[in-house]
Symmetry: C2
Subunit: 182 residues, 2 copies
């Protein structure tokens, strides 16, 4: 069971061939604090908020200069965020929590993302695509947002919304046949 309403997370699990159902978790999320603690705690809350024998909770945040950028409230906020990310490197943190049989196992992942220097016209162009909506940091690296990014360092899927390498580390048997019995 995936405790998330994110279409991106669903798409990644489908790409991996993981069978799952998805339910939106009704939790109060933390929005302040050290990024790693924040995403791990939010992931745990999500995993505990949904019923099921095996529940995966995931939380992702974009961090620049120690400040967390969540989903922009509106186009103006998205423009501000993209302007702040322009020409610089930021961090994307995800926490995943897998609850099974009363126990919760967690992992975190960090990816560095370097943005190109964006002109005002480019930011306006990107806002007009509408991709900024419902995305932490206001961009979708797997969409037109690919054109904003120069390079990354770490797990690409973490930036999309679900760190695949961390998931394979936490529960290889979910993803890879034989992955649990090396």
């Amino acid at each position: 069971m995936l405790a998330s309403r994110s279409p991106q997370r669903r798409a990644i699990l489908e790409q991996l061939g993981v069978a799952f159902r998805a339910v939106a978790p009704g939790v109060e999320e933390l929005s302040e604090g050290a990024p790693e603690r924040l995403v791990l705690e939010n992931a745990r809350r999500k995993a505990e908020a949904v019923e099921g024998t095996r529940v995966l909770g995931v939380d992702t945040t974009v961090v620049l200069d120690g400040r967390s950028y969540g989903k922009p409230l509106d186009g103006g906020a998205a423009a501000q965020t993209l302007g702040a990310l322009s020409g610089r490197e930021h961090e994307v943190w995800s926490g995943i929590a897998l609850r099974a049989g009363g126990e919760v196992a967690v992992r975190s992942a960090r990816t560095l993302v370097r943005f190109r220097t964006l002109s005002t016209v480019e930011i306006e162009w990107y806002l007009a695509t509408g991709e900024w909506r419902e995305r932490a940091g206001g961009y979708a690296i797997q969409g037109r947002g690919a054109a904003l990014v120069e390079a990354i360092e770490g797990d690409f899927w973490n930036v999309v919304g679900l760190p695949v390498a961390a998931l394979v580390g936490l529960a290889p048997e979910l993803v890879v046949a034989g992955g649990g019995s090396r």
Copy 2:
């Protein structure tokens, strides 16, 4: 015009919203030589082999210990390649060449990809997905192959088959409105 028959390259241009037609180029490709020279020369040959007012040629290769790994001939070759990549970091090189008005402009991109240590059972599992076919290095990072990868450094799309950051650098007006007039 895209001088390529790769479905991955088409998918990336579609994701970016670039309007194009695709034609398979009939060229003799180099398979030996320094990776950057190799992919640039092959990209140029492809761009010159197809008619059109603006033609994009792309070539990608996987390099480990100075050896280029192309598309595996069969499952046995794919298993050997995946075994060689297991637990190590390799390079993915792409060259892109854009021919317009008798001139050809080129760029190259390099991304580092670090594989997890894979068991024999995991390699067999991956072969059974069939994804190794028609892929340089025998894996698809945008498919189940995501589960083989620990981290990357550079442009993710280069590993899929078309370096987006290099394309934006070469021809911003193709991808980003206002990208050419900063």
